[in-house]
């Protein structure tokens, strides 16, 4: 559509793309472990398919094992290269393993993978796999800011995480009818100003994942977070805090940080 080359700048685990419209968006890079799991899964599929075909071929060529060997050798070789190249090229940058682990190969400009890129990155496996178990490719990926093995560097591709995301729903702490922290507007205001984005996200995640945490772990995490907010950020009166559990303390704090009771606005810098 255009000759404009988007500017890309990698950070630790993500790729930032700046488009010609001045929009910047981030793409989360796939972690080496998930790539490894996807590759092992794909290898199992290829081996399963080749062995399945092999059994059939041996049965068909029972009286001519030499021809059976020929068919299997050629099929194994062709499937080994074509599996990744064809699936990635025609199936939105994904093999079965990558789809299962929510990974996707894309062009490093943030665009979908092209067929020739899919072939190049898969043919380059002969080098990445050296000397055994993808040692060269693994080291190359770990030492690359974009987590690219040599095949990816040559083809200009990278692997991103592709977890499905829905529009964020309204959180339960924003629906509280009464938030006792709001009785102390000055301290609440201080909390909003002093809490770092990381701390706010941490509180949000801790509350969201309440039911995923073991009771002991939940108690400990909530206690540590509540103590930190109370001691380091904004000390609410002791008589109020003593009446609240750590969990309720964090719910109130989240209500202040994210809630609708007069606190839903935040500053956007332009």
């Amino acid at each position: 559509m255009t000759d404009f080359q988007p500017i890309r700048f990698p950070t630790t685990a993500e790729l930032n793309i700046a488009t010609s419209e001045g929009v910047i968006f981030r793409l989360p890079l796939a972690a080496p472990a998930s790539r490894l799991y996807a590759m092992l899964f794909d290898t199992a599929i290829v081996l399963g398919a080749v062995n399945g075909v092999g059994l059939m071929v041996y049965w068909l060529f029972a009286k001519a094992p030499g021809f059976g060997f020929m068919v299997i050798t050629l099929a194994e070789f062709a499937v080994g290269f074509a599996y990744g190249a064809l699936l990635e090229g025609f199936w939105n940058g994904q093999t079965i393993g990558k789809r299962l682990f929510h990974l996707r190969v894309i062009d490093q400009a943030g665009l979908p993978l092209r067929i020739e890129q899919a072939w190049v990155r898969n043919l380059m496996r002969v080098f990445d796999v050296l000397p055994f178990a993808y040692l060269v490719g693994g080291i190359a990926a770990l030492s690359s800011p974009l987590m690219q093995r040599f095949g990816d560097r040559v083809a200009g591709t990278l692997v991103v995480r592709q977890t499905p995301l829905a529009a964020p729903a309204e959180e339960f702490w924003t629906r509280q009818k009464y938030n006792s922290f709001m009785d102390y507007p000055t301290i609440a205001m201080h909390l909003r100003r002093a809490a770092s984005p990381e701390l706010a996200s941490l509180i949000q995640d801790a509350l969201r994942r309440r039911n995923e945490l073991a009771p002991y772990a939940r108690r400990e995490i909530y206690r540590e977070l509540a103590t930190y907010v109370q001691c380091e950020i904004s000390p609410f009166p002791d008589e109020l805090v003593e009446m609240l559990s750590d969990e309720q303390y964090l719910i109130n704090a989240a209500g202040v940080l994210f809630g609708a009771n007069g606190c839903r606005a935040f500053t956007v810098n332009h």
Partner: protein, 343 residues
């Protein structure tokens, strides 16, 4: 600027939903082509959603919303700026048959890298040959396999057919598959080693040349020159050039990586590399079949003179194919420029 996050989401959510639906519909289509109305709608929704993303980008407390919008904008961006190949074009036979002319054209365009590959291999051959000729101690190092050190025993076994366990056609079929896959893998490695800025490719070609030179001199020294020529020529005239072309592809890749920032048409350059690989793979399929089904037959089944004549004819045909097939371009510019994309 103060943003009322709840009201902002309530107002914008319908267009995000519309954009999501449109993207889901597009992504599920095999050809992913937009009609004009869809393109207009997508452009409009993309622009608005991108604006929404800009508004929340610096609002660190809307982390989830930002992530969601980024994902949405990334998908829309990909659909807008990516022109996928038409499915109808992809499966047209002439598009695939074009490889038979594209390969020699690419070979000629990148001929200087082929020349470099030939030079390195010849140097290797010279070293291997001279070492075997003037330093008998080097034979054990350069030719570790017994059948290479003692050609007489090998020639005897080959001529008597002692190495065949299965019926001939079956042995040959299995052997040809093994040769094809092994040779393609080695050639691919030579081409892929271009990522080492060509050093790996050069070393592999040199090593190959040393072995070739050493074997040639050893067999000739012991009076089996004709046997060796008849044995190697029918498949070697395809196998050796294909390894040289793999070296050519490797050096071409090294050039691509070294000058990537200057190369404004990376996609075409990659296609050139792929065409060379596809071409040499075809050559190696032929070489594998010839080696298994033809080269392994010796006198008295096949006279050596006949085998040499077949090999020579193959070489002539290959030379004509590589030098004369497809479009011919002259001039220095034609050497490095890749053709414009077929649209």
């Amino acid at each position: 600027m103060i943003l009322d996050l709840e009201r902002f989401q309530a107002q914008a959510r319908p267009r995000w939903t519309r954009l999501e639906s449109l993207l889901a519909a597009l992504e599920s289509r095999p050809d992913r082509r937009l009609n004009p109305a869809e393109a207009e709608q997508l452009q409009e929704l993309y622009a608005h959603t991108a604006l929404d993303l800009n508004r929340v980008t610096h609002g660190a407390l809307a982390h989830d919303l930002r992530q969601y919008l980024e994902r949405l904008v990334a998908r829309a961006y990909a659909e807008l700026y990516y022109a996928p190949p038409m499915a109808s074009e992809m499966w047209q036979p002439h598009r695939w048959l074009r490889i038979f002319t594209a390969f020699p054209e690419a070979f000629r365009r990148q001929s200087r890298y082929f020349a470099l590959a030939v030079l390195i291999t010849v140097l290797g051959c010279a070293l291997g040959g001279l070492a075997v000729r003037y330093d008998p101690a080097s034979v054990d190092v350069l030719l570790p396999a017994n059948y290479l050190r003692n050609p007489g025993q090998r020639v005897h076994e080959e001529e008597k057919g002692l190495s065949r366990r299965l019926p001939s056609a079956q042995t040959e079929a299995a052997f040809s598959a093994h040769l094809i896959t092994h040779n393609i893998q080695v050639a691919l490695l030579a081409a892929a080693l271009g990522v080492t800025f060509g050093i790996g490719t050069a070393l592999l070609l040199f090593e190959n040349g040393v072995l070739l030179g050493a074997v040639a001199v050893r067999y000739t020294q012991q009076g089996f020159g004709l046997f060796m020529t008849a044995w190697l020529l029918p498949h070697g005239v395809f196998e050796i050039p294909s390894i040289l072309i793999a070296g050519q592809a490797g050096f071409y890749l090294a050039r691509l990586l070294l000058r990537r920032r200057e190369d404004r048409n990376v996609r075409q350059s990659m296609r050139e590399w792929l065409v060379l690989i596809a071409g040499l793979a075809m050559m190696l399929v032929w070489a594998g079949m010839m080696e298994a089904f033809f080269s392994q037959h010796h006198e008295p089944v096949l006279p050596y003179g006949f085998k040499v004549a077949v090999g020579t004819a193959e070489l002539a045909l290959l030379t004509i194919y590589l030098l004369l097939t497809g479009q011919r371009k002259t001039g220095a510019g034609a050497r490095v420029r890749v053709p414009s994309e077929n649209k």
